[in-house]
Amino acid sequence: MAVALKLLKQLRAPHTSSTILHRNLSPRLSSIHSATRLFSDSPPPTEPLPAPPPLNPHSPSPSSLNQYELAKFAAVAETWWDSEGPFKPLHMLNPTRLAFIRSTLCRHFGKDPLSPKPFEGLKFIDVGCGGGILSEPLARMGATVTGVDAVEKNINIARVHADLDPVTSRIDYQCTTAEKLVEEQKNFDAVFALEVIEHVADPTEFCKSLSTLTVPGGATVVSTINRSMRAYAAAIVAAEYILHWLPKGTHQYSSFLTPEELALILERASISVQEMAGIEYNPLTGRWSLSDDVSVNFIAYGTKTVTSSL
């Protein structure tokens, strides 16, 4: 955590330094990124904390989702809930990231961490909910959950599975995108996009949508994979090619964001990152745990700046 906080302090320095950081990153980024990646092309911010973009119903691309990514997930949707299936790592990872969510959001919303349903009365949205691996636990923890995914098949899986338990059957699953919900002027106490941002075409726009969906003073939680050599070794070489945990081609190394980059684009979207933690896999025990080491998987929680108004 210490490392992550240090990074955040650097990021919260006056905007000149963050611009410098961004410029320093840009050449490195453009050398790695494919043409579809727009991160380094986005203009540097004119203000340290820019207001979220005005709603634009005439946006040329209604979704930041990459068409190819969409097709890939439709193919494996059926196996979402098989804890020994292709999403096994996600099932194993889930309790760890939920532990982070529980502790940070109980503090954020001033809820009793000893309550079995601490999030009662709160409206949460799970963007890129897939089969509902995150939505269901959030609903069991008391939240009123909306789960959205651009893949119809995922939403079907999620609905069927959620109906097995009366508590989770109240989840509102919709086949839509964050951008469309922004257009519908929906907002939520907390917005989640876990292991999603590495699959979107334009992370900057995506974060702006997440921010717009979050009520001022609300929380946004994003998790993803770092763009580091260790992450490449772990997420692509090990997980896809050696252990066959993930179908080959699940991840594009160039789509990964570093914690600095993520914090920066969230900051630009009026989300101030409060805490960041690494999610570490121990191959000896086969367990995932939270750690200070953000070099592979990491999760960030931020608050929507109250001063920015829609």
């Binding site: 098989d82 636990p137 609903a139 069991r140 338990d165 009366p166």
Partner: protein
């Protein structure tokens, strides 16, 4: 009946209320039911049709014995699990009506040696204070020796800086303490005074629900249906088999077991001395070990292992003849008393010997048995271990998952260890919103307990095997092992810690 209806209505209204008001209302519900005074014994006894499909239980505990009740108490005490709706299925009237124990009755021969770690778990859930109100006997010394006269080990609680090595408690005292502990909570439990007949676990196949037949899965798909022999049935998300070594749950869920019987029986009885016994004694004889455990006042408990034929004979023997046999088995025959190192028997182990070997470390002779204070019971000995403890919707705890040789009185400690581990893992699961019937969660329990149980079982089985042969060289090796344990302090300390229930392997600690 009135109180039931009121509680149900209240329970429903509580669900609708906000978090901040929750504790207050639950207290109110408890007051309403207790002021009515209609609460029979230890909680509600099931009414037919109370739990239908739309109102299932979170957990059904099959078997309300010591281990099943320990699980229920532990769930009732933890903040994240006390809201769970639990059904307890047991035909024993004590579970429904409570158990009254008269202190002046002689001790029941069915006793357990609870380890310090079990005691601290009981203290955590608030059940130990009820044990202390009844007869119990802490012991701070333990002597294990061998009929050959070659080896002995004497343990003292002070070696590990503890007050006691354990406590011997009658099983009925442990059980009633847990029932009393449960009675003093506002836990939503329902007792079914019956037995399990059949169990239906609807297997779930998600892919069939996808596409055209997405209505193929209904709410019941996520529940286990339990049919009882009295005709009642109930639905639960998770079924816990705490129904002992002949577990019906284990059989119905199709868990395979590994095990063998030792072709040995144990005679169990209570005996009386002229003085109070403060030490646990165990002597290894060619036919099997005899243990003399203090049980409070001037009473001790005997667990004596022998061949089935001998056991049957000794059960029928006249009382004074039997007492003579017991005294003989505890002290005589086979050779001299083992010598303590102070008189020069240490050999290579004297290198490690503490110079200040206290008088307590010297070999002692167990107190004489004066008379028999209970009937003699005979139990066959066997070892059984379920290959798996957990599957979707079903989990096994206690003797349903493993039965061990009663050699060191460890059986029930392993069971309590299971119960507390399961409740903690359920609580951890609830904290992160996991479905409590999820296999991946239950497998965590299995992984944690299997290694602890298998290690203890292997040690006990090893002891059993080592002593079932009377062969010169082996006797010497056994004696050397004993002397090693006696005179090599680090080894001695780790053995005591392990026997006290610390989850660490001896030697490697």
């Amino acid at each position: 009946m009135n109180s039931l209806i009121i509680r149900r209505n209240l329970a429903e209204s509580i669900k609708r209320l906000k978090l901040s008001q929750r504790t207050l209302c639950t207290d109110a519900a408890a007051k309403v039911s207790s002021s009515n005074g209609a609460q029979p014994g230890n909680g509600r006894v099931a009414q037919p049709n109370f739990a239908n499909k739309s109102n299932p239980y979170d957990i059904a505990i099959v078997g309300g014995g010591m281990v099943g009740m320990a699980l229920a108490c532990s769930l009732a005490k933890m903040p994240l699990t006390k809201h769970l709706k639990v059904a307890i299925i047991d035909s024993n009237p004590a579970v429904s009506n409570g158990l009254s124990i008269k202190k002046e009755d002689p001790p029941d021969p069915r006793v357990s040696t609870v380890t310090p770690s079990t005691i601290s778990l009981f203290k955590d859930i608030g059940a130990w204070k009820y044990v202390e109100q009844n007869r119990h006997a802490y012991f701070d010394q333990m002597q294990v020796w061998d009929y050959t006269g070659l080896g002995y080990t004497r343990y003292d609680a002070r070696d590990v800086h503890k007050d006691s090595l354990g406590c011997v408690v009658e099983n009925k005292v442990l059980h009633s303490s847990l029932l009393s502990c449960m009675q003093n909570t506002d836990f939503q439990k329902t007792i079914y005074p019956s037995r399990l007949s059949t169990m239906t676990l609807q297997p779930r196949n998600l892919s069939m629900g996808v596409g055209s037949t997405s209505s193929g899965l209904n709410e019941q798909g996520n529940l286990a249906k339990l049919d009882l022999i009295d005709g009642n049935s109930l639905y639960a998300k998770l079924v816990v088999g705490a129904d002992g070594s002949k577990s019906r749950v284990r059989e119905l869920a199709g868990f395979k077991t590994t095990g063998w019987s030792y072709s040995q029986n144990a005679i169990i009885c209570t005996v009386e001395h002229s003085v109070e016994n403060r030490c646990a004694w165990q002597r290894f004889l060619p036919a099997g070990p005899i243990a003399l455990l203090p049980i409070g006042d001037n009473f001790s408990n005997i667990v004596w292992t022998m061949k089935p034929k001998e056991a049957a004979d000794r059960k029928l023997k006249a009382e004074d003849e039997f007492v003579k046999d017991v005294n003989y088995a505890l002290d005589y025959g086979f050779g001299p008393h083992p010598m303590s190192s102070t008189s020069g028997g240490g050999g290579i182990f004297s290198l490690f010997t503490n110079a200040n070997l206290s008088a307590n470390d010297c070999f002692k002779v167990p107190p004489k048995v004066l008379k028999l204070a209970s009937e003699r019971m005979v139990f066959p000995l066997s070892l059984m271990h379920a290959n798996n403890y957990a599957s979707k919707h079903v989990v096994l705890i206690g003797d349903a998952a493993h039965t061990v040789h009663p050699l060191a009185g460890q059986g029930v400690n392993l069971g309590f260890g299971d119960a507390f581990a399961l409740s903690r893992i359920i609580s951890e699961g609830i904290a992160v919103g996991t479905d409590i019937a999820e296999v991946s969660l239950l497998k965590k329990y299995e992984a944690e307990r299997k290694s602890a149980n298998v290690t203890m079982m292997a040690i006990l089985d090893g002891f059993q095997k080592a002593y079932s042969v009377d062969f010169g060289p082996l006797n010497v090796i056994r004696a050397a092992a004993f002397n090693g344990a006696q005179y090599f302090p680090p080894l001695k300390r780790s053995i005591i810690s392990y026997a006290s229930g610390d989850q660490r392997l001896p030697i490697f600690s």
